[in-house]
């Protein structure tokens, strides 16, 4: 049985992979707020290009494309709607037959598209180059309660595990003559014999898991240590400072401009 992990993490060796998760989180914040503060479309383009460069550096650009592709339809519709119907529309940009696109609306749309793509890319930098467990561990060190950390971690494991249990249960019921393929009504009928064992198994395993956690001191109030200490590049913290300073500078520039 092949269990698919519920994570987009790509195991590569690159400079981006060695940066710690917190710095990447700060970068998401930075890449979003910096163009917003400066309100200048060239900066937005610049940051987006920078994100893409980082993705290329992290050798994960190819994995970003399907994620971008998914949002492409939505973004295209923004372009059409804003271009045609934005209330600010005055200057005709171009027209196809009787369909008229206006400059103001298109500009608004381009800004939105840039923001969304930047957000997606910077989140991809985090998600594609960071092990989920490393991210959660970093957050726990920054003060995230261990219980919430456990919940986040376990979701990553339990969902694929449940998926494989589902497959086994479905096999067991098909073996007893339930037709699972074909008409909608047969599929609906086949659903109920699956539900019982899935829920029962989930309940039973939840109880066992909680007991297993308890015997290993899950509720202990002692300071927790970590089995694996991932080593990250030391450049992370200075980078965070630089981003904060640049951001503060941008805010200052906007205020006193």
């Amino acid at each position: 049985m092949v269990i698919k992990a519920l994570s987009l993490y790509q195991d590569r060796t690159s400079l981006v992979h060695t940066i710690d998760p917190i710095t990447k989180l700060v970068f998401i914040l930075f890449s979003l707020s910096f163009p917003l503060i400066l309100q200048n479309i060239y900066w937005s383009v610049g940051i987006l290009i920078f994100c893409i460069l980082l993705l290329l550096l992290g050798k994960v650009f190819k994995q970003t494309l399907p994620i971008l592709g998914l949002s492409f339809i939505l973004l295209l519709s923004i372009l059409v709607i804003q271009g045609l119907y934005s209330p600010k529309n005055e200057t005709l940009f171009f027209s196809v037959g009787f369909i008229r696109f206006y400059e103001e609306g298109l500009l608004v749309a381009v800004r939105i598209i840039l923001r969304v793509t930047t957000l997606l890319c910077s989140v991809c930098i985090l998600v594609l180059t960071t092990k989920p467990s490393d991210l959660i561990q970093s957050l726990m060190k920054k003060g995230l309660p261990a219980k919430i950390g456990y919940v986040l971690n376990s979701v990553m494991q339990i969902i694929p595990e449940m998926r494989s249990t589902m497959a086994t249960i479905s096999d067991a019921q098909r073996s007893r003559g339930i037709e699972t393929e074909g008409k909608l009504i047969t599929r609906i009928k086949a659903f109920f014999p699956l539900l019982g064992p899935v829920i029962m198994n989930a309940l039973v395993s939840t109880r066992e898991r909680s007991m297993a956690l308890e015997v290993r001191g899950f509720n202990s109030t002692a300071k927790k240590s970590y089995l694996v200490e991932p080593t990250f590049s030391r450049i992370g913290f200075p980078l965070q400072i630089v981003m904060m300073v640049v951001l503060a500078g941008a805010i200052g520039w906007r205020i006193f401009q």
């Binding site: 092949v2 249990t165 086994t168 249960i169 096999d171 067991a172 019921q173 098909r174 073996s175 007893r176 003559g177 339930i178 037709e179 699972t180 393929e181 109920f192 014999p193 699956l194 539900l195 019982g196 064992p197 029962m200 198994n201 039973v204």
Partner: protein
């Protein structure tokens, strides 16, 4: 007419990582044990027989039905499989309903399903639990229920996946009796199993799988004579057989009864 034919069967999830390679097999009325290390491909093989997986190449015919074409639900009328974990199938709130679920699915009329189910429960010795809630029973009892629910389907072929797990001595004896009873009724019984003592006591034929290939195939006595090959495949001999070899070389003792009869004491 019962028949199982496996022709040059191969299977993989990923091409570079084959699970079964070029297996050709036929089964017969002899009770058959399939043994092998974890990961040797035993469960994959029976899932293929059952039609739950489709061959990557080669073919499998069950009672003149091509498993590549016929749906699993259709095949269920010919071939029953008892899963390793009974919790994967039990969903009714009464034992008798659970056992009757399979028979009704394969088209037995209600009266017949009731008779078959009661007989199956009798066979595994659980007839007095018929109105209990399955989850009020112990795991080993639930396992017996899951066995009964396959037997009640009255298929020509019955496959067990690790039937003796979590069973005490009495449970194992029950399962041994069930296997013999099924064989007497003309059913073909195939079992995946790790318990070598149980293999030696129960099965006429043994097939050894290793790394997705058939390493040995013969009567159980012939198989346990090849102790070096078995050890290489990471398998143990039955305890009493080991003792036999230690005391008297070149003689294969399979069961305790045999051992006692043979001993010169």
């Amino acid at each position: 007419m019962t028949s199982i034919t496996v022709k040059s069967l191969s299977f993989y999830y990923k091409k570079e990582d084959p699970i079964l390679t070029d297996i050709s097999l036929t089964f017969d009325q002899r009770t058959t044990a399939i043994i092998g290390q974890n990961g040797a491909g035993k469960t994959t093989l029976v899932k293929l027989l059952k039609g739950l997986l489709k061959p990557a190449s080669g073919e499998i015919w069950i009672n003149d039905q091509d498993t590549r074409v016929v749906s699993v639900a259709k095949l269920a009328g010919y071939i029953g499989l008892v899963f390793q974990n009974p919790n994967d199938q039990i969903f009714k709130s009464k034992v008798i309903d659970e056992v009757m679920f399979g028979p009704l699915n394969v088209g037995q009329p209600k009266e017949e399903a009731i008779t078959n189910s009661m007989n199956a429960l009798l066979m595994v010795g659980m007839e007095d639990k018929k109105d209990d809630h399955p989850y009020d029973l112990s795991l080993s009892e639930r396992k017996l229920i899951s066995i009964a629910s396959i037997i009640a389907m009255n298929t020509d072929i019955v496959i067990f996946d690790e039937p003796t797990i979590a069973q005490d001595y009495a449970g194992k004896e029950t399962i041994k009796r069930v296997i013999h009873d099924l064989q007497k009724k003309g059913k073909w019984v195939i079992t995946i199993i790790h318990d070598m003592d149980f293999v030696a006591e129960t099965f006429a034929r043994t097939i050894v799988l290793a790394n997705g290939k058939i390493l040995l195939d013969g009567t159980t006595r012939e198989i346990f004579l090849q102790k070096d090959v078995l050890v290489q495949a990471g398998l143990n001999l039955p305890h009493v057989t080991q003792l036999g070899y230690l005391l008297e070389k070149n003689k294969t003792v399979l069961t305790i009864d045999e051992f006692i009869k043979d001993s010169k004491l």
